[in-house]
């Protein structure tokens, strides 16, 4: 459990140093997913505090929203390569909507991370 906590904290700190990096965000989300799974498996046995669990859940969810937007935007770019004009126009609209979502999700994640000042150091 300690290993999972350290690993998630390190990955989040790394993300905070370069918050626009999709790669670092993905690494942070993966580390949070492993920590979350460890808490689900062994949290009761290890005596994990409910508010700690809740913070991990929230961070994982928020990081997931940003990650999903990153992934979908990549997929849109892939589709654009083989799209006819009609579809290209539609893809442009979807891309704009996804960018807005990503911006909101990034702000939400940033707000959450600000509540963890030790990670901003």
């Amino acid at each position: 459990m300690e290993k999972q906590i350290t690993s998630a904290a390190d990955a989040l700190a790394c993300h905070c140093r370069k918050p626009r990096s999709a790669k670092r965000l993905h690494a942070a989300r993966k580390a949070l997913a492993r920590l979350r799974a460890a808490l689900e498996d062994l949290g009761t046995l290890a005596g994990a505090a409910p508010d700690f669990r809740e913070r991990v859940w929230q961070l994982h969810r928020c990081a997931g929203k940003v990650r999903n937007a990153d992934v979908l935007l990549d997929r849109i770019e892939g589709y654009r390569e083989y799209a006819a004009q009609d579809e290209s126009e539609q893809l442009r609209e979807v891309r704009a909507a996804l960018r807005k979502r990503r911006k909101r999700a990034r702000s939400e994640l940033d707000r959450l991370l600000r509540k963890l000042p030790e990670l901003r150091a």
């Binding site: 689900e40 539609q90 979807v94």
Partner: protein, 151 residues
Amino acid sequence: MKDAREIAFAGVTSQDQAIQRLLRVRFAECLEKQEALTGGDDDAVHAFRLACKRLRYAIERWEEAGDLKPVTELLSKIADELGAAHDCVVLAKRASECNAHLVVRRALQDRDRYKTRGRRLWYGAFNAHGTFEPLALFTGFHWDGAPLVSI
């Protein structure tokens, strides 16, 4: 990750027993949710994928799980395929909100392709001497080819 079963460790007296119980519960979750692969419920497929990830993480956390490495590799591939299927479902929803019907159609076609690949990987592992055999034996499931029968 939603729908994780609680693990009760009452009566467990050794680390090996604890690991066996944990993996049994997580494997059972996957078996319980596997029908999603042949149905039309995207949320159920997503829940199955998350169960596969929980099982993989549980195995990987256990350092002596060398014999089960092929299982984690397979679970990782299945999660990748079904993850891509889930991405397509979400993209179809977002595209639908923008009235982008051509994008919706393409995303749903891709979803079906990824889901089919994930399904093949999952069921293929239940062949005699398949990838899941050592996990089934370790967790106390009777291995008799597909479908698995609990003892």
